[in-house]
């Protein structure tokens, strides 16, 4: 019994640090201990009197944790005290303002803010929302994604912070069941969508802080989700959507050389359950990885177009640019100078609309030309070839249907996410 406490304490402390700490480090390593979340319900930990010895120091954290697993009683999305205070201080987000009034909110609009707590002893049960309230809160937050009144960054900022608070409340109450899994899955989806949409809107090549912070929380939430899957292994061997969510990890780490911290994919794969490895979603991710590592741009791009789900696409998108870049580089440098490369064919290779291909080449300092019959061509081995200085704009991706913003919230309730996009179907430009 005692040993279990101790073997839990380290990884749990690590877990909690990840949830409560500031945005310093990125992804945490997936811990190995199995019983991490199950607190022994019996009072095996007899309280001690002396305050100085080691056992007490450990037990204290253990008891702290059991104390931390409080049961929230707050009936609103935002504790009343906080709402009143923020009204007084005019600290209300746009979505929380009643009729646009910065001094006035309501229980239907105010949502609890994320706040770093150092110790759960400071937290009152009345400030913590119980599970049903958290579920409603999360659903409300995700419905805001459809809003057309505000730019996406503003919506994202609000939902980002408030979902972080939802996660915090879940952890504090040690809710680790199916419903927690459900909620974390939705939160991860939000971060994935933001990953995609924030990228679209940033113009410079440097990743915006919003984008970076979002990626950080995406990784943290994903790690928590994996831990939840593990913790629930006895009641449910494999969760319905686990394969897809596991595949996200692979797709986030395609470029293993770029990872300074975190577990390498080789290490990570060691602990993935066999049914997940054999799943369709993981198969796709592994194929993407294989083609990416090999540099097989043709197969990479066509496989993504044919098999990626919307969420998988969102994650893999930055790598699409990288692969296209590689393709252009290879073709430009290795193709016979006297045989300019037809743009039509290049469009097929890059899985890009032909009009975009021209812009793409221009971004790399390359000029196109036209032959006698009017076909557009890319002369190779031009001396002006160079990496684009600014970021790349967003180009079409053949086979990808961009969902209009009004459909975003539906992503959280339908299962059609797992249906692969059809290749060469309706193409939308991006704006």
């Amino acid at each position: 019994m005692e040993r279990r406490h101790h073997s839990q304490s380290h990884s749990q402390r690590q877990q909690r640090r990840n949830h409560f700490s500031s945005s310093s480090s990125s992804s945490s390593n997936q811990s190995r201990s199995n019983n991490r979340f199950s607190f022994p319900k019996s009072s095996s930990s007899s309280s001690s009197s002396s305050a100085n010895d080691v056992r007490d120091r450990r037990r204290e954290t253990q008891e702290e944790k059991q104390e931390e697993a409080i049961v929230g009683t707050c009936p609103f999305m935002c504790p009343e005290a906080e709402r009143l205070q923020r009204q007084r201080l005019r600290d209300l987000a746009v979505f929380e303002r009643l009729h646009g009034d910065p001094r006035n909110s309501s229980p239907a609009l105010a949502v609890k803010k994320f706040c770093r707590t150092m110790s759960a002893k400071e937290v009152r049960a009345s400030d913590v929302r119980p599970l049903p309230v958290l579920e409603e809160t999360l659903n409300y937050l995700l419905s805001l994604l459809d809003s057309t009144e505000h730019p996406f960054e503003v919506i994202h900022d609000f939902v980002f912070d408030r979902t972080r608070s939802v996660r915090q409340d879940l952890i504090m109450q040690n809710i680790v069941n199916d419903k927690a899994i459900n909620m974390f899955e939705k939160i991860v989806k939000f971060h994935v969508i933001s990953h995609h949409k924030l990228r679209s809107s940033c113009s410079s090549s440097s990743i915006s802080p919003l984008h970076y912070l979002n990626l950080e929380q995406l990784t943290k939430a994903l790690t928590s989700l994996y831990n939840l899957y593990e913790a629930n292994r006895s009641s449910k061997p494999i969760h319905e959507k686990e394969a897809e969510f596991r595949s996200f990890y692979v797709l986030l780490h395609l470029d293993s050389n770029g990872q300074p911290v975190g577990e390498s994919l080789s290490l990570w794969f060691r602990h993935v359950p066999s049914p997940i490895i054999k799943s369709k979603e993981m198969w796709f991710a592994r194929q993407a990885l294989r083609y990416f590592q090999m540099g097989n741009y043709r197969r990479f791009l066509s496989t993504v177009a044919a098999e990626a789900s919307y969420l998988q696409y969102c994650i893999i998108e930055p790598y699409i640019d990288e692969v296209r870049s590689l393709a252009l580089c290879c073709i430009h440098n290795c193709c016979y100078k006297l045989h300019p490369y037809p743009l039509g064919h290049l469009s097929k290779v890059l899985m890009m609309e032909e009009s975009d291909v021209e812009l793409f080449c221009n971004a790399y300092g390359l000029q196109t030309c036209i032959d006698e019959v009017g076909n557009k061509l890319l002369p190779t081995k031009q001396t002006t070839f160079c990496r684009p200085k600014g970021g790349l704009q967003n180009y079409s991706f053949l086979g990808f249907q961009q969902l209009g913003s009004h459909m975003l919230s539906s992503l959280f309730y339908n299962h059609f996410l797992l249906v692969p996009m059809k290749p060469f179907s309706h193409v939308d430009g991006w704006n």
């Binding site: 380290h10 001690s48 450990r58 090999m294 290879c330 193709c335 045989h339």
Partner: protein
């Protein structure tokens, strides 16, 4: 031995236990080390042993005190071991010490930093000394000496702390080993160095730092001391296999193929087909080998490394086609039609269109596995007349 009163014995025992728990709570590795080093035959440990014989109820003492019970799993068997050691009962002393040492590793894993590393080394040392003496006792009683082997696998476990995803702990442990002036790595017994290099080399494989992995794993292999090769179950032979399982993928990645006799001798069948595939340029065989041993490769963590060999297999295939063409018509050999490659791949049951072949060709050229260029309109690869298929020369394929 002078007469020791119950009270005195009790006092000495609680004294030891207090020092133990104080050392842990204040992370005082110097004190902790002294409490574990049996072979030093320090007076305090000897008198502790005597005390344990007088006050026979140490276990209850430990388990009932909130101060000492957290470490019961370590101290209870430790005391037992000490008692056996004192009475010259080395086999039992070894068994109990091993139990205590295993419990120690568990605790070590939970501590957030590697502060107790030196204590871990002391335990590793002590366990080996005890094992050797236990084996001597066994041999003298006509039994088979197998404690040293058991100690060997315990040592694996000790260094197992360096592996297995506790990456942050690994880094601090490795850093403390590699920068500690207190230890000279060379001073450590060879076996420890070998196991250390094995585990850190393996980590390098997972992080795909192939030159570092090669260096470390090769060191481990060379210093493995295969004196008892004949006994395939000896610690050395087991270690050799473990090292090879990681060293072979590393060597393959830098273009070095193991000889068949090596694979046969150590029964590394999972690699035979892969090596064959590389030799013959047989893509189908590579994919087949990866599928056949997929679980094993994924669990050991070398799957991704092996998968990357695909490009080298392509290079080999193209080279073979080139050689065949050269035999038919040397003047035209340096021009390879993409259609010919498509046909060759079809023969290997790999369905690839000419566009994809062009892509592969482009990548091979880009990564300097092939020297030349391709002509899109005429669908031909034109190879350099000199050294069109450069060897890797000990460097991994550049990404």
């Amino acid at each position: 031995m002078a007469y020791m009163s119950m009270g005195e014995a009790h006092r000495r025992i609680t004294d030891y236990l207090n020092r133990f728990s104080d050392a842990v709570s204040s992370q005082d590795v110097a004190s902790l080390k002294q409490l574990l080093s049996f072979s030093s035959n320090s007076p305090s440990l000897l008198s502790l042993a005597d005390s344990l014989n007088v006050f026979q109820d140490a276990n209850r003492l430990i388990k009932q005190s909130d101060n000492y019970s957290p470490f019961a799993d370590i101290t209870v068997p430790l005391f037992r071991s000490l008692q056996h050691y004192r009475t010259g009962n080395l086999v039992d002393a070894y068994l109990a010490f091993e139990k205590s040492a295993n419990a120690f590793i568990q605790e070590f894993r939970n501590w957030e930093s590697a502060w107790a590393l030196e204590a871990l080394y002391v335990i590793a040392y002590e366990i080996r000394v005890l094992a050797e003496r236990a084996d001597r006792e066994l041999a003298s009683n006509g039994k088979s000496p197998e404690k040293l082997k058991a100690a060997g696998s315990f040592l694996m476990k000790v260094f197992g702390v360096l592996a297995l995803g506790t990456v942050h702990l690994c880094r601090s442990v490795i850093r403390s080993i590699e920068t500690a002036r207190i230890f000279d790595f060379e001073e450590f017994p060879k076996r420890d160095k070998v196991t250390y290099m094995y585990y850190t080399g393996r980590l390098e494989v997972f992080n795909e730092n192939f030159p570092a992995a090669d260096q470390k794993l090769s060191y481990a292999l060379i210093n493995c001391n295969p004196r008892s090769e004949a006994n395939i179950r000896s610690v050395s032979a087991v270690l050799i296999v473990m090292i090879l399982k990681y060293l072979i993928p590393v060597k393959l990645s830098i273009g070095i193929l193991p000889k068949d006799w090596l694979l046969e001798k150590y029964n590394l069948v999972e690699y035979s087909n892969i090596v064959q595939a590389l030799r013959r340029g047989d893509l189908r065989l590579l994919r087949h080998a990866l599928e056949e041993h997929e679980d094993q490769f994924l669990r050991s963590g070398v799957y991704l490394v092996l998968e990357k060999l695909e490009l080298q297999v392509y290079q080999r295939l193209f080279k073979k086609i080139y050689i065949i063409q050269k035999q038919k018509d040397p003047s035209k050999a340096h021009q390879m039609k993409l259609d010919v490659i498509v046909k060759a791949l079809k023969w290997l049951e790999m369905d690839m269109d000419v566009d994809e072949v062009e892509c592969i060709v482009a990548i091979l050229i880009h990564k300097n596995l092939v020297k030349g260029y391709f002509a899109h309109k005429s669908k031909v690869v034109v190879l350099s007349k000199q050294d069109p298929f450069p060897k890797l020369n000990g460097k991994p394929v550049n990404s």
